[in-house]
Amino acid sequence: MDVPLFLLFAFIAVASAISLVVQTHPISSALSLVGVMVSLAVLYLLLGAEFIAAAQIIVYAGAVMVLFVFVIMLLNAGTEHKSSKSPMVKWFGIPLFAVFIGVISFSVQGMLPKSEPVVFGAFTQGGPLEVGRALFTVYLLPFEVTSILILIALIGAIVLARKEI
């Protein structure tokens, strides 16, 4: 059951990512990015990361993408203009990119020759209990520093979006 699920959602993720890159309207790109994020959340569930999968849906597919769509609609962003690409880009871009992907895949496969199979349910330490325990004991200082980072980002966003600048 794992293999069809992985293949289905990996295909959705890659197809949505390609759609993100080739669409000319920003709203289409944003909706493709939502597709990538939701399918990645399913893959996180297959890897046993339940808390991160839920956070992915809520934070990324929810909050961040709503922010993106809000700004796209606020600025009334239209379709991109076509650029005058050189013939090199037109003819060699996609084949070279495919070769690059192939080389990367081959080297990753070669680096992990006897990699273990991923079985759903073999790793159960990714629930909210374990994540919360690690977050509030070992990683307490980074967690608290993150709260200051969020505060700075909040103030920075308000200052940047003021009328006077």
């Binding site: 790109s29 990683y139 200052v159």
Partner: protein, 106 residues
Amino acid sequence: MPPIPAAVPLSWYLVLSAVLFSLGVAGFLFRKNIITVFMSIELMLNAVNLSFIAFSYHLKQVDGQIFSFFVMVVAAAEAAVGLGIILTVYKNRSTLEIDEINSMKN
């Protein structure tokens, strides 16, 4: 063609992560709308998160998931600040094309 294995090898997740990251780089380099460039950065961050969680499974430790949690938090903060910058740029320049935002050139 090799037969489909009974379970997914870990390397497939890493290959998927590499492919998504490369697509993010391609979008970052080839697109001209500043918002789409920003979304490509988010795609790259997501691809790295997938690697973190795959290695968390491989090591049977929760630390990789904590790291991807922090990446998520930083990405949310970055999105807020970055979109504020985009709003300011649009207010000053009335354009979203990154080729036209070149006042630091020359």
